[in-house]
Structures are given as structure tokens and as C-alpha cells.
């Protein structure tokens, strides 16, 4: 691994919101020509049942979460030439439209940034120990995992 790049990795699990502009600026180094950001937001409904929701609460496994995300980020910088990587994942109670996760990747060339960001999201979805519970006025319901997320990681195993 490029020594400089190691300094350009930021992984945060936090309750607070993040600012996409600020995070984009942090990813920008002299050689950076392209930045790709992924932002996940709380939808107003459950994907499986279409039932409307008011909020969701995210719990995680402190310690293991950071280790798993670090593993994924290290894999991505071995696979693609990148100039910076940031992963921020929020925990606690979030309302509809709130930002959940930020994955930002910068590189000299755009396709590396697109692929690395996509790769990190796919692996984060299946490996990082977070769990969502969706809430509305009447009930709370743990979100079920999606087979499509398991399937998504197959494209990186070719």
C-alpha cells in the first residue's frame, strides 16, 4: 500500500450527521481528478412491505464494525489506484430523509473511483455489522437482509 494513501483513509462511526461538501473537499489531493460519493438516505417506506415509516434506529457491533470496514477499504486500495477513501456510517435514531452512510473515493481516473465506491458499498452492505430497525406509530420491525445484496458482491469475484 502507498504510504501516503494510508494517511488519506478516514473511517468514522458516528451519531452526528455529515456534510457532503466538506467530505468531498477532504478527499481532494493534488493528483485527484475524480471523486465519486455514495450517500444512503432513509426512505419513507419499507422496501419489502411498502409500509410507511417514521424513523429507523441503527445499532452496530462497536470494534468489529471498524475492523470490517477497514478490511474492505484496504481491499479496495489494493485493487484500484486511489488518492483517498472516506467511509462514514451513522448510528442511532434517524428520521425519513436523514443521511445514513457516506462512501467517498477519489482517484486520478473516474472509472477507478466509480468501481471502488461501488465495491466498498457492496461489501459494506453484506459485511459491516449494522442492523436497522424501522419504526412507525404502531410497530418496530427489524429490516430483513436482501438476497440482492448477497448477489451484488458476486460481480467482484469474477
Amino acid at each position: 500500500m502507498d504510504h501516503d494513501l494510508a494517511k488519506n483513509i478516514k473511517i468514522k462511526i458516528q451519531i452526528e450527521d455529515f456534510d457532503v461538501s466538506t467530505e468531498t473537499k477532504i478527499l481532494q489531493y493534488k493528483k485527484t481528478g475524480a471523486i465519486v460519493n455514495f450517500i444512503g438516505v432513509v426512505r419513507d417506506h419499507d422496501e419489502r412491505t411498502s409500509q410507511l415509516i417514521n424513523s429507523m434506529t441503527l445499532e452496530h457491533y462497536p470494534g468489529m464494525t471498524e475492523l470490517e470496514i477497514e478490511k474492505i477499504v484496504l481491499k479496495s486500495i489494493q485493487k484500484w489506484e486511489l488518492t483517498g477513501v472516506t467511509v462514514i456510517h451513522r448510528i442511532g435514531k434517524l428520521l425519513v430523509s436523514d443521511q445514513i452512510v457516506f462512501v467517498g473515493v477519489s482517484s486520478m481516473h473516474r472509472q477507478n473511483a466509480f468501481d471502488a465506491c461501488n465495491f466498498i458499498m457492496d461489501w459494506l452492505k453484506t459485511q459491516a455489522p449494522f442492523w436497522k430497525v424501522e419504526e412507525n406509530d404502531n410497530q418496530k420491525k427489524w429490516v430483513e437482509f436482501r438476497q440482492s445484496d448477497e448477489d451484488a458482491i458476486k460481480k467482484w469475484k469474477k
Binding site: 457491533y61 470494534g63 456510517h89 459491516a128 455489522p129 427489524w142
Partner: protein, 83 residues
């Protein structure tokens, strides 16, 4: 041994973690799950859908056959749903 539970497994069991002394006849994850689910109905229900339970030993993904010892931190949780 420290055991942690997350998501609906935690809710079925009614606690997020506990300290147990590993019984002498328990040396793998599979044996630990068998031991726990026979403690009472709460554990039985928590461990009912074994296909859906992920295991970590010392914060690293592990499988049902993996060996464990009394100083390990074990975690049981459903498939992850973050991101």
C-alpha cells in the same frame, strides 16, 4: 467467556451481552449454540433459525465448526442490514 447478541437475537434473549463460564463439554461454536438453546425458551427461540445466524469470534467472522475457549469474545447476530 463474553457473549454478545445483536438485533432480534438480543431481543429474544432479553440481553445484549453476558459472561459465562464455558462448560467442559463445549469446545466449538456449534456446541455453544446447543448449550445456550437448552438453557430456556428465550434462547431456544433466538437460535431457532440457525441459517440466519452469523457468528464472530473476537470480532472476526467465524463458522459453526470453529474452536472456542474461555477468553474469547463470541457474538451472535442476524445478517447485517446497514448501509
Amino acid at each position: 467467556m463474553q457473549i454478545k447478541y445483536f438485533s432480534w437475537i438480543k431481543e429474544h434473549i432479553g440481553k445484549s451481552e453476558e459472561e459465562i463460564n464455558l462448560p467442559h463439554n463445549v469446545s466449538t461454536i456449534e456446541e455453544l449454540m446447543f448449550y445456550l438453546e437448552n438453557l430456556n425458551d428465550k434462547y431456544k427461540r433466538a437460535f431457532e433459525k440457525k441459517d440466519l445466524i452469523k457468528i464472530a469470534i473476537n470480532k472476526s467472522y467465524s463458522s459453526i465448526d470453529d474452536k472456542i475457549n474461555n477468553t474469547d469474545e463470541i457474538a451472535f447476530f442476524p445478517p447485517v442490514t446497514g448501509g
